[in-house]
């Protein structure tokens, strides 16, 4: 079993500390969901984990089986097993997805066929694979294209930043099924970040973390979703007692 451990993570953006001692531990094959209101630090967590140049890590540690990721380049973090599916995947004109995946180390033999299969699993149009990375794709198509990369790269842990935004119900279902299947296929650990509760209907998490004020303020099982459904985030505001 593989373990992802985030401990005491403090991250600043533009000089302002947004993550203020974030702790989370999860294992391969598990599905965890991080929920929290806008501005609670969810996206900062995703970006900091994969080494976005604008996010400054002040303190803390992120390890996979004891290997520290924060001292690694963005490339080596992915190669250590951590993949980020972005909220707003970037357009990279002139660069083809198949070339990216090959350069990322995907096995060349049969790559096109495996990509075509992953495309079908998330209901993308196959011709989109011929386009340059994310160029001329809608927001929802980009999210699904991230899942194609995910399916090819087979990370040990996947962090999905607002994977549900911009997706209609059918596409969300397809993406959630793809993620759930990965936990069986290669024991992927899935860490999904969202502020919508509807993702929980599609993707059944074993653990839910509620984030407020840049740290985890509550961790629990699926029953936590019912509390959120009923009461919203207000009872979880940073200073409020549980």
């Amino acid at each position: 079993m593989t373990t992802l451990t985030i401990s005491g993570l403090r991250v600043a953006v533009g000089g302002k500390e947004v993550l203020r001692g974030f702790d989370l531990t999860m294992h391969s094959g598990e599905v965890h969901v991080i929920m929290g209101p806008n501005g609670s630090g969810k996206s900062t967590l995703a970006h900091a984990l994969s080494g976005h140049p604008a996010y400054e890590v002040l303190d803390g540690s992120v390890t996979i089986d004891g290997v520290e990721l924060l001292s690694l380049s963005a490339t080596d973090r992915e190669r250590a097993g951590l993949f980020l599916a972005m909220q707003q995947p970037m357009e990279v004109p002139g660069v083809r997805l198949i070339d990216v995946l090959e350069a990322a180390g995907a096995e060349r033999a049969g790559l096109h066929e495996r990509m075509a299969w992953e495309v079908r699993r998330v209901d993308l149009r196959p011709e989109l694979l011929e386009r340059f990375v994310n160029v001329d794709l809608s927001g929802g198509e980009r999210k699904r294209a991230e899942m194609v990369q995910f399916g090819i790269l087979r990370p040990r842990f996947a962090v999905l930043d607002e994977i549900d935004s911009g997706l209609d119900v059918d596409a969300l279902g397809a993406v959630a099924r793809r993620l759930a299947a990965s936990t069986d296929e290669w024991g992927c650990g899935v860490l999904a970040i969202t502020h919508f509760r509807r993702l929980l209907h599609e993707l059944t998490p074993s653990v839910i973390h509620v984030v407020s004020g840049g740290r985890v303020v509550a961790t629990g099982g699926p029953e936590l979703a019912e509390v959120l459904e009923r009461d919203g985030y207000e009872p979880f505001r940073e200073s409020a007692p549980l």
Partner: protein, 425 residues
């Protein structure tokens, strides 16, 4: 500079460039007109670096006597790449040292001919048309004959026409006219290869008649020792569309002047140029979009990268004539420096004599987009591979006029060329 071993044979046959030129000219039926172009070339002489538009050309190393004008083409097999390119074309026209050697497979509505004169595509005297351009005058004097590809009115050509230019002699002066008659539609690839230790001076002219459309890709993949001085001109009639991509990969000195004359209402010109420079290469791109009629549109995108001690120059002029109302002209230039000793200059110019126009230009010299690079890195791509993919992308973006199989072939060739450059990242 190329070191050429001087053998006994070359000593015995050594002549000056001028001697080879006058001998060539005297053998042609129109030697009088050619002689006039040649004497004008001689009287204005090669440019010097004190001339602003030639400031960055290593003219001090240009010794014309290293070159000789060939009387006949030196036939040699084309490269594997050229053959593969041809295999995906609707028709392959082969030109060796400026001589047409194969007119390709027949296509309905397309003719490939030779015009023995040096007249311009508009029928004008080249000595007047190119009066101040020494290299174009040399071409008027020394081109064996103009290769004329004509697409008849309302003919839509499926698949690209590929013109393969091989430079085997030490000097070649190819001249190409592409004529798209009213309502015609075609895609043409002009590909240049060879040229080791040689000078290659192509002059191409394109006439796009009313409502015709020409998509053109020029891929320059000459040897790293070649002097390449090219000039292209598009003449666009009413609602004519010229979409032109120019890819400069090879040559020691790569000069490409690309002009468009938007002479009638609704003419549209899209010009995209890109280059990659390594070693001590110089890429020197000059553009002139001349809007002479209302509602004409031009967009220009130039993107290039220089490594090692390479340098690049981009000078673009948008000129809008009085009366060319509601013209829309845009020019963007991005240069990428990959080494502290590489240098890029960018000089956009506007000359606007009409008020009712939209005109914009932007230029930048800087590094690659850091967020795009991070995005690729976060997929597990190394920094050097990410940069290589992004630079390769400058070229790949130029190829969207081509059918996918042909575009992939050129992409593969670009990738191969970039792989041999160890300086990225």
């Amino acid at each position: 500079m190329v070191d050429r071993p001087i053998t006994l044979l070359t000593l015995l046959t050594m002549t000056t460039f001028a001697e080879s030129a006058t001998s060539f000219i005297s053998s042609r039926p129109d030697s009088e007109e050619r002689g006039r172009a040649w004497s004008n070339f001689e009287s204005i002489g090669l440019p010097t670096t004190t001339d602003e538009v030639w400031r960055y050309a290593p003219l001090a190393e240009l010794d014309l006597d290293r070159f000789a004008v060939p009387a006949t083409p030196t036939l040699a097999p084309a490269s594997d790449f050229a053959i593969a390119l041809g295999a995906l074309a609707a028709s392959v026209v082969r030109v060796v040292d400026g001589f047409l050697v194969d007119i390709g497979d027949p296509i309905d509505g397309v003719t490939v001919d030779l015009n023995p004169t040096s007249l311009t595509i508009a029928g004008d005297d080249p000595v007047e048309r190119y009066a101040s351009d020494a290299f174009a005058l040399a071409n008027a004097a020394l081109c064996p004959a103009t290769v004329v590809v004509t697409v008849a009115a309302n003919t839509v050509v499926d698949g690209p026409i590929v013109i393969i230019h091989s430079a085997n002699a030490t000097a070649s002066f190819p001249r190409t006219h592409l004529v798209l008659e009213r309502g015609a539609n075609a895609t043409v690839v002009e590909y240049y290869e060879g040229g080791a230790g040689a000078i290659v001076v192509p002059v191409s002219e394109y006439r796009v008649a009313d409502n015709a459309s020409l998509r053109l890709v020029t891929y320059q993949r000459l040897d790293a020792t070649t002097w390449h001085v090219a000039r292209t001109t598009g003449l666009l009639e009413r609602d004519g569309r010229l979409s032109q991509a120019v890819l400069g990969m090879g040559a020691h000195y790569d000069r490409s002047r690309n002009d468009a004359d938007l002479r009638a209402t609704g003419a549209q010109n899209e010009l995209r140029t890109t280059f990659f420079g390594s070693g001590s290469q110089v890429h020197d791109f000059r553009t002139h979009q001349f809007h002479r009629a209302p509602r004409s549109r031009s967009t220009l995108l130039s993107k290039g990268a220089v490594a090692d001690t390479a340098r690049s120059v981009y000078t673009g002029l948008i000129e809008i004539e009085k009366g060319a109302k509601r013209t829309d002209a845009r020019q963007t230039n991005h240069n990428l420096l990959l080494s502290p000793n590489a240098h890029a200059d960018s000089v956009p110019n506007l000359d606007i004599r009409e008020n009712d126009v939209v005109c914009a230009h932007a230029s930048s010299v800087g590094p690659l987009n850091a967020l795009q690079r991070w995005y690729l890195e976060s997929r597990g791509v190394t920094r050097s591979d990410a940069e290589r993919l992004m630079i390769q992308g400058f070229f790949l973006e130029m190829l969207d006029a081509l059918p996918p199989a042909l575009a992939r072939l050129v992409e593969g060739d670009v990738a191969l060329a970039l792989q041999s450059v160890p300086v990225i990242a």
